[in-house]
Structure formats: C-alpha cells, structure tokens
Subunit: 137 residues, 2 copies
DNA sequence: CGGGATCCGGATGGATACTG
DNA sequence: CAGTATCCATCCGGATCCCG
C-alpha cells in the first residue's frame, strides 16, 4: 500500500471521485452496454444479444439513464419501422481505460475461461487496446 | 474508435473478461468498499462512515461476497469484544488501476464538486496514484 | 461496544405479452 | 424494431435485536 491513513487525514469519502463515477456506472448492466458500444454495437436488439437475463424494461431504463448522464447519445434513423441507434459521446468514450483495466484485471488473474500464458495475455490486452483506442504507453 | 465490428467477427460477449470482472464488482457498494480499503480502512464500522444508506445487512453480504471471490480476507483480532479486520488480498490489490481510472474519469470530466484546472487535476491524480500504489509510467 | 442477524416494506430487476 | 405495460421475483435499506 502506498501509505497509511492517519487520524488527521481528511477522509470524507463522500466527495471521492470514485463515488461520482459510480453514479454513472452502478446500474447493473451499464458497463456491459458501454463495452458493447466500443465493440461496435449500436442497436437495442444488439445489446440484448448474449445477455439472456437483460429484459426490455431494464435495458430501456439503463439506456435512458446513460443518456441522461451524457454518456451515450440516441439517434433516430427511421420511424416505420422504428430504427434507433445509440452512440458513445466523447464523455462515454473517455471510459475506455476503465473498461480496459476491468479486462486486464480478469486477464491477469487468469480467471478467464481458458488458461492463458504470458504472451497470450499480452496479445489479449493488445486486442482490447485496439478496440478501445488506447495508445501503448 | 479503433476498429469496426464485422459480421464474421465472433462477438460472443458472454466470454468477455469485462463480464467476469463485473461478477466481482457489480454489487452496488463493492467498489466503494474496496476503495476504502486502499485508503486504509479495515473495520466494519469504518466502511459505514460516509455511507448513510449502507445497512448492516448489505455491508455484511457484500463483505462475504468479496471474501468468497478472493478479493478480501477477514482476520479476527479479538473475541471479546469482537474485533474483525478486513484486508485486500493480492488479487484485490490488483484492482488498483480500475479504481484509479474511475477516479481519473471523474477528475478529467470536471464533474467533481469543485472546478479543477489542469495542474490541480494532475495533482489530484498523483494523490490517487500514491494511495493506490501505481507507478508513474 | 463492535459485528453482525432478522424482519419487513419499498425499490429494482426479469419474463412475457403487446403496440406504433 | 424498439420499445411499453404488466405482473411477479429479487434485492436493498432501515429499524431493531442479539451475542460475546
């Protein structure tokens, strides 16, 4: 650990930026939907793929919440039939590193489906950096 | 965006490492409790400070869940009175960059309580890197 | 007194059916 | 296709109690 807490540190965590971030992301499906958007998904029905337990109601609520927070933007393509697309705003795109570190956490812990050796893990991370548009530092 | 999705990409997101990470962190208070631990908190009552809406039951459930996932470890210090301390495991500590990027997201979006100029934001991030034990890269 | 467990009402989530 | 309406299940939050 970097340092210990001391009694005269001001430790009012209610102002911590991590809390603020969680206001945006604490809804159960938010992160996965944002991840989907980085992977190129834009449509209501696409977000439901691979998420059998995500209902219309909850997805609808979640999209509205993310839109109200300025993370995503809705664009109506056609009325009949209804075609709507959702995009990440610049602010939404700035979540790329959060998504990346979540992926890296799992990849490095090797609690993925299959075992990955060091070079495979590196490759997997590189794939994510490309998709998430993260520069190698 | 780094690249677009194509129809013959295999896009089964159910295996995505981000999903796996969310199994650990999706509970409403998990991230904030882990953040608290990085800040040096170890006790049941400390986790409740600054979280007036966190009930005993939910905190208790959350700590058990994190322990079952290998993120934290419980240590009994004394029986009478009962004194218990909770610590991050190595695996838990490897969440430091996730926490960091959540903080950076808020700091850079300037949706913090107060407005921060560039140098103040840098300073704030540095504080987090020290607490989270992240090397400047 | 600290670390819980229990109980219960309200909020949130999930499955299905239906509509513009 | 993208939602809404409805109904039920599950989870959360607040109060209270328990136990060493």
């Amino acid at each position: 650990m970097g340092r210990e807490i001391s009694s005269n540190d001001k430790c009012d965590m209610s102002l911590c930026p991590v809390n603020k971030a969680m206001e945006y992301l604490s809804k159960k499906w938010s992160i996965e939907i944002i991840r989907d958007m980085f992977f190129g998904k834009t449509r209501f029905s696409q977000f439901k793929e691979d998420k059998p337990k995500l209902s219309n109601k909850v997805l609808s609520d979640c999209l509205k919440h993310l839109e109200s927070k300025g993370i995503i933007k809705k664009r109506i393509i056609s009325d009949t039939p209804t075609v709507t697309e959702y995009y990440l705003t610049e602010r939404g795109k700035s979540l790329n590193k959060v998504i990346y570190e979540l992926a890296v956490f799992t990849i490095d812990c090797n609690d993925n489906e299959e075992y990955l050796d060091e070079s495979a893990r590196m490759e997997r991370k590189k794939e994510f950096r490309e998709i998430l548009d993260i520069d190698i530092e």
